[in-house]
Amino acid sequence: MEPFDFIEMKVPAKAEYVGVVRLSTSGIANRMGFSYEDIEDLKVAISEAMANATEHAYKKEDGGEVTIGFGVYQDRLEVMIADRGGSFDLQKVKKGIGPYESDQSIEDLREGGFGLFLIEALMDKVEIKNDYGVIVLMTKYLHENEVDVNDNQISTTQ
């Protein structure tokens, strides 16, 4: 099996801990040698998943925890974010995401629900499992040849 380091965190499902996990992500990604731009992408993607986990999964309950696992590989970082709250209808969520169109009327604009769209735009690979609670598994590869982020938000995997 491919060798990797595993780091696990467990935080209360509260918005104030999203920033704590973001800082941890930044530290791990920095140690692995990710570029500044990629670290910023990771920070947003992980915060989105954390915000989903804290907001949706534990809507009416107090307490509850979110478990975060970081798989540190030679060529990539895998981040798993799991909650044990209620599951959601993934197909329905997927239908409601995507970029805005400039001809959309202002009243029709969505105010939320595009966290998942951003996760998919910023990470190289995203898997969501929805059997028991919600697990988001995201992967970002370390690139030897950096692509200028300003050119395109889609990173190249090699």
């Binding site: 918005a15 104030e16 999203v18 920033g19 704590v20 973001r22 800082l23 910023e40 920070k43 947003v44 915060s47 989105e48 954390m50 915000a51 804290t54 907001e55 970029p99 805005y100 169109e101 400039s102 959309q104 202002i106 009243e107 604009l109 969505r110 105010e111 939320g112 595009f114 966290g115 769209f117 951003l118 735009a121 910023l122 982020v149 300003n150 938000q153």
Partner: protein, 109 residues
Amino acid sequence: MNLYVETKEDGNTQEVKLSGEIDAYTAPKLKEALLPLIEIKGTEVVVNMEDVSYMDSTGLGVFIGALKSSDANNSKLRLICLQDRVRRLFDITGLDGIINIDSSVRGGK
């Protein structure tokens, strides 16, 4: 990991200066500060984002809410001085074509 909001009134313009990070924890604070201003009819709310070092979709949600409110109240919303990383989220989501954003104000960049 906090957000500071400073507001200044100048005639018909409300300047809102933000500094810090906008995320799931701080977005409610931004919403609370921004919405009452945008509800003033005929006003222009200018949000200075120069010192916002981090923002995610929770922040985008607040600005979309403010934009809707401005539409209903005949007021205006403008974002200025965005850092490149923050600006990028507006670009990816297509919001740059919907919200009035002026990054060019920022130090000639």
